[in-house]
């Protein structure tokens, strides 16, 4: 609680931000996935800076709350620190300044509950020498998970992403989309509460990407996870998210936080709706502004 009081206030007040929008009246709407105020924060980042050894400031004063059940997209131009922020959230990198809490606890405490968190990388990052089944069960093996349901959990994870028939294939025998599904299954096998995804579909073709977007949305709804999703695509961010956080570069920082106040489940008809177009316009405008700020180096 002390930490919350110390919060400098650089985070966008979401209600205020949303009310500022000209094209969508959301002044009295609640968040799509329930009342945020009653939900427990999964991640609380406060004034986080990341300065690399060569002096480059990748992230400056980033403050953000991610609450239980949210689907938050981090969107911004290259070099704006989206991936850096995500990696700090995953505990894969340390902040140079500021604090970050997971389920209102420090990393040392949450480390013991590490299974609550899973990370999907930009590339599938599968072990080429292991079959799909071996790749998916890897997190359980590493955590020395001893309960007798390992095989069942692996089968469930493969089933969720539609890869049951390919359990005994090697990664090189799969298409790019299927490899990414295997990577997602590996993240799901630990039954995480928080899923961090770093541009997972960036290298895929449009059709595969749309299909995987639908799969992720379905799994998110079915399992009640919290997802933080890094992407370059405005359309992907709007389609998937309950919130889009726009970031600017040089230095990387959060400049806008936009609620996508549309009901779930979302399907392909949402992609051609008026409100989708309006949200895309709004997010694009915010992104353009962020890019301009990055070029000018304004903080």
């Amino acid at each position: 609680m002390t930490m919350i009081r110390e919060f400098s206030g650089t985070t966008m007040d979401i209600t205020e931000r949303v009310s500022n929008r000209e094209d969508v009246d959301v002044s009295n709407k609640v968040a799509p996935t329930g009342d945020k105020r009653s939900r427990r924060p999964v991640i609380q980042a406060r004034n986080v800076d990341k300065v690399y050894g060569n002096g480059t400031t990748a992230l400056k004063d980033a403050t953000i709350d991610i609450k239980q059940g949210e689907f938050v997209s981090l969107l911004g131009p290259s070099g704006c620190g989206k991936s850096t922020l995500l990696r700090i959230m995953a505990g894969l990198g340390e902040a140079s300044r500021g604090t970050i809490k997971w389920w209102e606890q420090d990393y040392d405490v949450v480390g013991e509950k590490g299974r609550k968190l899973a990370f999907v990388f930009q590339n599938a990052t599968l072990m080429p020498w292991a079959k799909v089944r071996g790749n998916v069960r890897l997190p359980l093996d590493l955590e020395k998970y001893v309960a007798g349901d390992v095989d069942k959990r692996v089968e469930q994870a493969l089933d969720m992403v539609g890869l049951s028939r390919f359990a005994d294939a090697y990664p090189r025998e799969l298409s790019g989309g299927m490899q990414m599904r295997a990577s997602i299954a590996r993240a799901l096998v630990t039954q995480p509460n928080l899923l961090l995804m770093d541009e997972p579909f960036g290298a895929l073709d449009e059709m595969t990407r749309n299909k995987l977007n639908d799969d992720v949305l379905r799994l998110w709804q079915e399992n009640g996870w919290t997802i933080v999703f890094v992407t370059h695509s405005v359309y992907e961010a709007v389609y998937l998210s309950s919130r889009v956080v726009v970031m600017a570069a040089r230095p990387g920082r959060i400049v806008e936080d936009i609620i996508i106040d549309e009901p779930f489940p979302r399907h392909s008809d949402f992609r051609v709706s008026q409100s989708f177009a309006q949200y895309c316009k709004q997010v694009s405008f915010a992104l353009e502004k962020a890019s301009a700020m990055g070029q000018e180096g304004k903080v």
Partner: protein, 267 residues
């Protein structure tokens, strides 16, 4: 539809070098005969083959001696080389401190230190083995260390995120990932072990029951038995090629399911 033999990749891989070899031997035979070159200057392939058949007993024994030294040297190089690599990746400090000495072994001419080693080690066979190890160990150390370090950083991050132990990281990530590099090292090292054994034999000049192929070459040259000398040389070359082929086969066997170097692809 049946694939024509000429389009069969496996057939071409074997047939093409054999065809080149046969053409080369035919040209050699023709040139030697046409120019009337004396056998003590350059024997023709038929004379070399006859010398091989006539001296098979002696040459085979020599081959066995050289092969024994090569085998022990290669085995020791692999075990020691891998052990050194595993040690090097434990800490950058260890690698930085010791790697220059591994390079030292690679750049020191074996003919320059073989006499010393033969003086220090009473048993000639083991002296030869040590010389051959000095020749053969560096590619194993160098390639395996590179392989153990060349881990996909994202995979490494994932292992660390799930709090993998160092042992898990080594056995489940670093070692499998290093296999292509390791087998690349073996291909070079196997040939160097043979070269090391032969060079050390030249320096040691061991005769009698411990005479290897190098001694056969020396002895034949002194006696102007040039066809026999070529026959011994042929055995060394053939052994080198067989060792290389064996390493390729082992590599393909280990990597055939997943690594681009070994997986058969269809276009």
């Amino acid at each position: 539809m049946k694939t024509p033999l000429i389009k069969n990749q496996g057939f071409v891989q074997i047939a093409a070098p054999i065809a080149v070899g046969v053409i080369f031997l035919l040209l050699w035979e023709l040139i030697v005969r046409a120019l009337g070159i004396a056998p003590y200057i350059l024997p023709d392939p038929v004379a070399i083959f006859e010398a091989l058949v006539d001296n098979w007993g002696v040459l085979f024994h020599a081959l066995w001696v050289t092969l024994t030294v090569t085998f022990f040297a290669f085995a020791i190089s692999v075990v020691l080389g891998v052990a050194c690599s595993l040690l090097f990746i434990q800490s950058k400090w260890i690698e930085v401190s010791f790697f220059p000495y591994a390079i030292l072994m690679q750049v020191t001419p074996i003919v320059a230190i073989a006499p010393l080693i033969i003086i220090w080690i009473n048993d000639t066979t083991w002296a030869l083995v040590v010389c051959a190890v000095i020749m053969a160990i560096f590619p194993v150390i160098s390639n395996t260390t590179l392989g153990l370090r060349s881990v996909d950083p994202n995979l490494l991050n994932m292992f660390r995120m799930y709090r993998a132990s160092r042992w898990q990281e080594l056995v489940r990530l670093r070692i499998p990932g290093a296999l292509p590099y390791f087998f690349g090292g073996l291909r070079i090292s196997s040939g160097l072990a043979l070269i090391g054994a032969v060079v050390a034999e030249f320096v040691a000049g061991t005769g009698g029951a411990k005479a290897g192929l190098a001694y056969m070459i020396l002895q034949s040259s002194y006696n102007l038995q040039i066809p026999k000398m070529f026959a011994a040389l042929f055995l060394i070359t053939a052994t080198g090629i067989l060792l290389f082929a064996l390493m390729v086969w082992l590599s393909n066997l280990a990597l055939r399911n997943w690594h681009d170097s070994a997986v058969k692809t269809e276009n």
